[in-house]
C-alpha cells in the first residue's frame, strides 16, 4: 500500500500548525509553543539518519590509530558499543587535560578535532531550530 514518508508526515505537521492553527492562536505562550513546534517538525523532517553509528565508527578508528598513546592505553574501551566508545573518548580527553607532554598533545591534535567536528556537523542541523525558539518564523 502507498504510504507517506516520514518527511511528508512531518511536513504535514509543520504546514498545518503554521497555516491552519497559528493564525487562530491569540495566547502568547501558545503562539510561542506553536512556532517552536514548527521548528521541531522541520528539524525532524530534515535531520540526517545514522549519525551516531557513523560517529562511533569514526571514533573507533581514531582510538585504534592512537593505540600506542599511553593515555589511550590507560583508558581502553570495554566494547565497541556507543556508550563504551564515548566513555573511553571522554576519559582520554579528560586525562589529556593534565598531560602537557607529547601524549596529551597527540590527543589534542588527533582526537579532539574529530570530536569537535562531529559536534559542528550535528549543530549545523539542530541550529536551524534556534530562530523558531526565539519566535521567528519564515513566512
Amino acid at each position: 500500500m502507498p504510504e507517506p514518508s516520514d518527511a511528508e508526515l512531518w511536513h504535514g505537521v509543520e504546514h498545518t500548525v503554521h497555516r491552519v492553527l497559528l493564525p487562530h492562536i491569540d495566547d502568547d505562550w501558545a503562539r510561542a509553543a506553536a512556532v517552536q513546534l514548527i521548528g521541531l517538525a522541520r528539524y525532524a523532517s530534515t535531520r540526517t539518519a545514522g549519525r551516531v553509528d557513523r560517529n562511533v565508527a569514526e571514533l573507533i578508528g581514531v582510538l585504534d590509530s592512537l593505540a600506542d598513546n599511553p593515555i589511550v592505553a590507560d583508558h581502553r574501551r570495554a566494547s565497541d558499543s556507543p556508550s563504551d566508545v564515548f566513555a573511553a573518548v571522554a576519559s582520554v580527553m579528560a586525562a589529556a587535560v593534565d598531560d602537557d607532554g607529547v601524549a596529551g598533545d597527540e590527543i589534542r591534535r588527533t582526537l579532539r578535532p574529530v570530536v569537535t567536528r562531529q559536534l559542528d556537523d550535528e549543530l549545523a542541523e539542530t541550529s536551524a531550530m534556534i530562530p523558531f525558539f526565539r519566535g521567528q518564523i519564515d513566512d
Binding site: 521541531l40 589529556a96 587535560v97 549543530l123 534556534i130
Partner: protein
C-alpha cells in the same frame, strides 16, 4: 489548575479566596510562571517546576529568596511553598507580584542609569553579610570545585552517554580553578531579563534558581558574556563595572568564567532533553536540549582550547 490552586491558596491565607485572573506569563523555560489575582485584590506570581528542568530546586530557590529578602536584597517577597507536587503535579511557590517598568524578557536593552544601578546592586548582593543564613554546600573555600562537581553530576544523570567535551571541560575547570578570596551569594543567571526595574533603578532580582554560594566573578562574566551580551559590548560592560564598583574583570576571568558558565549551561540544558522524553514533551525542551545545549558546548570547547 484553577480549582486546586484556589483551594491551596485558601489554606495558606486561612480563609476562602477566589482566583479572578489566571494568566501564564510567557517568559522563561525552566519554570511555568502564572500571574494570579485574587478577589481580595492580592496579586501573586506562582512559579511552577517543569519536571526537573536544569536540575534546580524549588525548595532551595524559595529558601534563598527568603534569606535574601531578610538581608535587604531587592527580591520579590516569597509567600508560600508547595514542595510535594500534590497540588499542581509539580513543586511550586507563590510570591508577591512586583510592579515594574521592565520590558519583555527577551528585550535586553537597558537605560544607562538602570545598567549602572544593576551593577551596584549586584555588587551589594556579593558583599552582603550573610549572618549565618544561606550556608554553602561546603566550607566555602572549595565553592567553585563544588559547583563544577554539581553540574557534572547533573550532566551524568541527564545524559545516557558520556559527552567528551564536557568531561574535558570538567577536568580543565578543576585544573585552573581560581583561588577564592571570599565566598559570596552568587545569583548565577544575572542580567537583563532577570531583574525588574522602574526605569531608573532595580526593583527586584528575579529567577533565583541558579543562586548559590560561590565566586562573584561567575556573575560578572555571566553578565558580560551571556545575559548582557546583547545590551552592550564586553569592553563597555567591563569599564562600567570597574567605574561603578571597582571590580576588574581580566581577560583570564573572561576565559575561565566564560568556560564555567558555558559548562553550567551545557550541563543544565541536557536535563531538558531528558524532560522532553518524560514529563514535559514541549517543543522548547527539545530545542534547548539539542541546539542550545550544543551551542553552549561548542563555545565551551573554544574557550577550553584557548
Amino acid at each position: 489548575m484553577i480549582e486546586p490552586l484556589q483551594t491551596w491558596l485558601a489554606e495558606q491565607v486561612g480563609r476562602p479566596v477566589a482566583i479572578v485572573t489566571l494568566r501564564r506569563i510567557a517568559t522563561g523555560h525552566s519554570r511555568a510562571m502564572w500571574f494570579v489575582e485574587l478577589d481580595d485584590g492580592q496579586r501573586l506570581v506562582v512559579r511552577v517546576e517543569q519536571g526537573g528542568v536544569f536540575g534546580t530546586s524549588t525548595v532551595d530557590e524559595f529558601e534563598l529568596m527568603r534569606a535574601a529578602a531578610e538581608l535587604g536584597v531587592p527580591v520579590a517577597p516569597v509567600r508560600w511553598l508547595e514542595p510535594t507536587g500534590r497540588v499542581l503535579g509539580q513543586p511550586f511557590f507563590a510570591m508577591d507580584f512586583v510592579e515594574s517598568a521592565s520590558a519583555q524578557r527577551e528585550d535586553r536593552t537597558l537605560p544607562d542609569d538602570v545598567a549602572t544601578d544593576f551593577i551596584r546592586r549586584l555588587h551589594e548582593l556579593h558583599s552582603v553579610d550573610r549572618q549565618g543564613r544561606v550556608q554553602p554546600a561546603d566550607a566555602g573555600t572549595n565553592a567553585t570545585d563544588t559547583q563544577i562537581d554539581r553540574w557534572a553530576g547533573i550532566y551524568r544523570a541527564a545524559s545516557p552517554v558520556a559527552l567528551p567535551l564536557l568531561d574535558e571541560a570538567e577536568a580543565w575547570l578543576h585544573r585552573h580553578v581560581p583561588e577564592l578570596a571570599q565566598a559570596a551569594i552568587v545569583h548565577g543567571d544575572p542580567g537583563p531579563g532577570n531583574f525588574l526595574h522602574d526605569g531608573a533603578a532595580v526593583v527586584a532580582f528575579t529567577d533565583w534558581e541558579f543562586a548559590h554560594i560561590g565566586d562573584p566573578m561567575e556573575d560578572w562574566v555571566y553578565l558580560i558574556s551571556m545575559r548582557g551580551a546583547r545590551t552592550m559590548t564586553a569592553d563597555r560592560w567591563r569599564q562600567l563595572i570597574t567605574d561603578t564598583v571597582g571590580v576588574d574583570v581580566t581577560d583570564w576571568d573572561l576565559r575561565y568564567w566564560g568556560a564555567f558558565n558555558f559548562f553550567k549551561g551545557a550541563c543544565a540544558n541536557l536535563t531538558c532533553l531528558q524532560v522532553f522524553g518524560g514529563p514535559n514533551p514541549a517543543p522548547n525542551m527539545a530545542i534547548i536540549g539539542t541546539a542550545l545545549q550544543q551551542t553552549f558546548m561548542r563555545n565551551l570547547a573554544q574557550l577550553v582550547a584557548g
